[in-house]
């Protein structure tokens, strides 16, 4: 078995004094894809926000180890430098900032943290083009302002594009399928699968089976009322689709 990449132990967390995660335990090894499913309000998005370090959430107890380090002690950007990537359910808009400027800043910060020199403009441009082709984004996208005027599908595709640029070790896809039509879903999912290696892992948070037809999970968890109530292999997906969450618990 591969080494453990992420280990969550008895994680309790919430927002504005309200506890949402009530003791989550989860272990992910390198190379594995885990699906986290569950009904609305189960705490799925809270889990992804807490792992990425969103400041409005508070961790009350528990621990998270990421690649041997204490994840909860790290700032959001340090987590990103360590290779954690969150594909946002609702990517934000940043008026006035072009995709190029945004990606340049992100990549430069990551390389700096790794002690690498900044890419030359030509190298950066080549990388940008390569990764855009990879997710079938139109070239004019890079000149546009981040998220501004993007359709739901374009926003999600732009998230996967960023993932390709930053080459994370652990990708968390928070409801990446919402708002996508079938074709866009396939492109996004293929993008994710192509980026997947023996050394990288992913957490796919979703409501539905359809994304998991393309991104095939090794392990499936059901999160309900802030705790993982069921863990099984990929066959669980079909059972949920058939019987609903109530039916399998």
């Amino acid at each position: 078995m591969n080494e453990v990449l992420l280990e969550i132990k008895d994680l309790h967390a919430g927002i504005e004094g309200k506890e949402i995660l009530k003791g989550v335990n989860l272990t992910i090894r390198r190379g594995e894809i885990h699906a986290v499913m569950g009904p609305n309000g189960a705490g799925k998005s809270t889990l992804s926000a807490v792992l990425a370090g969103k400041p409005s959430y508070t961790v009350t107890s528990g621990s998270v180890t990421f690649a041997g380090k204490d994840l909860l002690a790290m700032s959001p950007e340090e987590r990103a430098w360590a290779g954690l990537f969150l594909s946002f359910q609702y990517p934000v808009e940043i008026p006035g900032v072009s995709f190029t400027a945004f990606m340049k800043a992100a990549l430069a910060a990551k390389r700096k943290a790794a002690g690498l020199p900044e890419l030359s403009p030509a190298e950066f441009l080549r990388l940008l083009k390569e990764k855009m082709a990879f997710v079938q984004m139109k070239p004019e996208f890079i000149k546009r302002e981040v998220g501004v005027g993007f359709s739901g599908g374009e926003k999600k595709r732009a998230e996967v594009f960023q993932m390709a640029m930053l080459e994370p070790v652990l990708s968390i896809l928070d409801e990446t399928d919402s708002g996508l039509d079938v074709d866009a879903l396939r492109i996004v999912a293929e993008g994710v699968m192509n980026l997947h290696t023996e050394q990288t892992s992913a957490i796919v948070i979703t409501h539905y089976q359809r994304l998991l037809d393309y991104i095939v999970p090794d392990v499936v968890h059901v999160l309900k009322d802030g705790v993982i109530v069921r863990t099984a292999g990929r066959e669980l997906v079909a059972q949920i689709e058939e019987k609903g969450y109530e039916g399998i618990l």
Partner: protein, 487 residues
């Protein structure tokens, strides 16, 4: 977020050095004798001395304005040195002191004219790549570059003092024609004691081939800087003008009371850009420049156009309202502004658009950014006079708050006495978005860089109006000025 806000403090002001150079001063204080002395040093004609004395008498009867949203300290006008100039070395009176050359080099202001490389570049390429500079050090202009190249096209670009000597008729015709000596307290003070500044005249039909600029440097302590800029764009001419400024870091506050006048004749086009980076004082609010400035232009002829773009990041206190009188029919003007305040800085800045002519157009875009314990106000007037038939104005004033201890204010006046004129004004105030900040951080961009990126995006509409040479500098300045504002 709060921690990010705290972390951003403590950035050094990189232009805060002092140049060691021998200087001559007039005695401290302000009276008619001092004014006569300044006028005499400069070898001025009687009419200009009379102009100064008249202004001084008006000033004596005026009170320091208190309507700004500012805590302007009591200024002891008798405790200021009104004239300070680097001594000319008697052996080489025409050459610039190497220490001054070095100073401007350090500030990134080229005082050496690059030569045309024979056969490599056309004259046009050479001109378009250069910027002509009038460099003012304390009370005097030390060098104006590209004078002769510009003179070939009939363009006059020189220090104000030289203009008085060499083009007295032009100066006399236009001086105080836009900002009268008694216009306001600080303009009256300037009219009485102004020492130097830039003069520019673009003749009929001439498109100025290169950017012109003035760079103001305060160096000596205990002094104030009172420069005067006069720009005249004759019929059908066009000009892009840039202005920059810096000062040493000191615990004392220093006064800067300038006047800029711009006359735009029929169908002429003037773009005036400022990147204001006076020393803002330290994180505890000690020191910094009191920047109390009157800038005004008149679109005199029909179809004339005047555009103001300003990026204000410096000064302890900014009191500044670059304004346009739209007199000529179908003339137009814009005011694009970014004003950023941090720590204990205070800014009260905006514009006036006075519509007199028919079909006149104006547009105001103001982006205020407040951080630390600073106070940042937009103050504006749009006035539609009875004859301004079909005139239009559109104003958009946005304020961004970074941290919970600063203030962001909007004080516009929209006055219309013309039924066919249309005025629209919108303003919004909000805080920097935590979602944007987190998103950028998740992508690995550190909090302070993320704030810089967001603020630059927020200000982009204004920044992209700046000439290329200025835009990159202004972007950097916005990020640097915010250091310490976020944590």
């Amino acid at each position: 977020m709060d921690e990010t806000i705290k972390e951003l403090a403590g950035q050094e002001y990189s232009q805060g050095f002092v140049t060691e150079v021998e200087q001559e001063f007039v005695p401290k204080g302000l009276n008619e004798d001092i004014i006569r002395t300044i006028s005499k040093i400069k070898g001025e004609p009687d009419w200009l001395l009379d102009f100064r004395l008249d202004a001084f008498r008006r000033w004596q009867g005026m009170k320091q304005p208190s309507w700004g949203h500012l805590h302007l300290p009591e200024i002891d006008y008798q405790n200021i040195i009104y004239y300070a100039a680097p001594k000319k070395r008697s052996s080489r009176p025409t050459e610039i002191d190497p220490a001054l050359m070095e100073t401007f080099d350090k500030l990134g202001i080229p005082l050496r004219e690059r030569e045309v490389l024979a056969g490599v570049k056309s004259k046009e390429e050479y001109e378009s790549e250069n910027v002509a500079v009038d460099a003012v050090f304390d009370s005097v202009s030390v060098k104006t570059t590209f004078r002769s190249a510009l003179a070939e096209k009939g363009i006059i670009f020189c220090s104000f003092s030289e203009a008085v000597r060499e083009h007295p008729d032009l100066v006399r015709k236009y001086l105080a024609s836009v900002v009268p000596a008694g216009d306001n307290y600080f303009a009256a003070l300037n009219s009485a004691v102004f020492s130097d500044g830039s003069f520019c005249y673009i003749p009929k039909g001439v498109k100025c081939p290169m950017e012109l600029s003035s760079y103001f440097r305060i160096n000596a302590s205990g002094t104030g800087q009172f420069e005067r800029t006069l720009i005249v764009a004759d019929e059908g001419s066009s000009l892009s003008y840039m202005e920059g400024c810096t000062a040493p870091m000191r615990d004392e506050q220093q006064l800067h009371a300038a006047v800029v006048e711009i006359v735009v004749e029929k169908d002429a086009d003037v773009r005036y850009s400022t990147v204001q980076n006076w020393y803002p004082g330290d994180a505890q609010g000690r020191g910094g420049i009191l920047n109390l400035v009157t800038k005004r232009g008149i679109c005199k002829g029909s179809g004339s156009h005047l555009s103001w773009t300003q990026v204000e990041t410096g000064s302890a206190i900014t009191w500044k309202y670059p304004s346009t009188i739209l007199k000529g029919d179908w003339s137009s003007s814009e005011f694009y502004s970014v004003a950023l305040t941090n720590n204990f800085q205070q800014a009260d800045t905006g514009t006036k658009m006075i519509h007199i002519g028919r079909g006149t157009r104006s547009r105001i875009v103001s982006k205020g950014i407040s951080a630390g314990r600073s106070e940042n106000s937009y103050r504006g007037l749009v006035r539609m006079n009875p004859g301004a038939e079909g005139a239009r104005n559109y104003s958009q004033c946005d304020s961004l708050l970074i941290g919970s201890d600063c203030g962001a204010h909007t004080f516009p006046v929209v006055h219309s006495a013309c039924p066919t004129a249309v005025v629209e004004h919108e303003a919004t105030t909000s805080k920097i978005s935590e979602d944007q900040l987190f998103y950028l951080q998740q992508r690995g961009i550190a909090a302070e860089d993320a704030v810089g990126l967001i603020v630059n995006g927020y200000a982009r509409e204004v920044l992209q109006r700046l000439p290329m040479e200025f835009a990159a500098e202004a972007q950097k300045l916005l990020s640097v000025s915010l250091e310490g504002a976020i944590g």
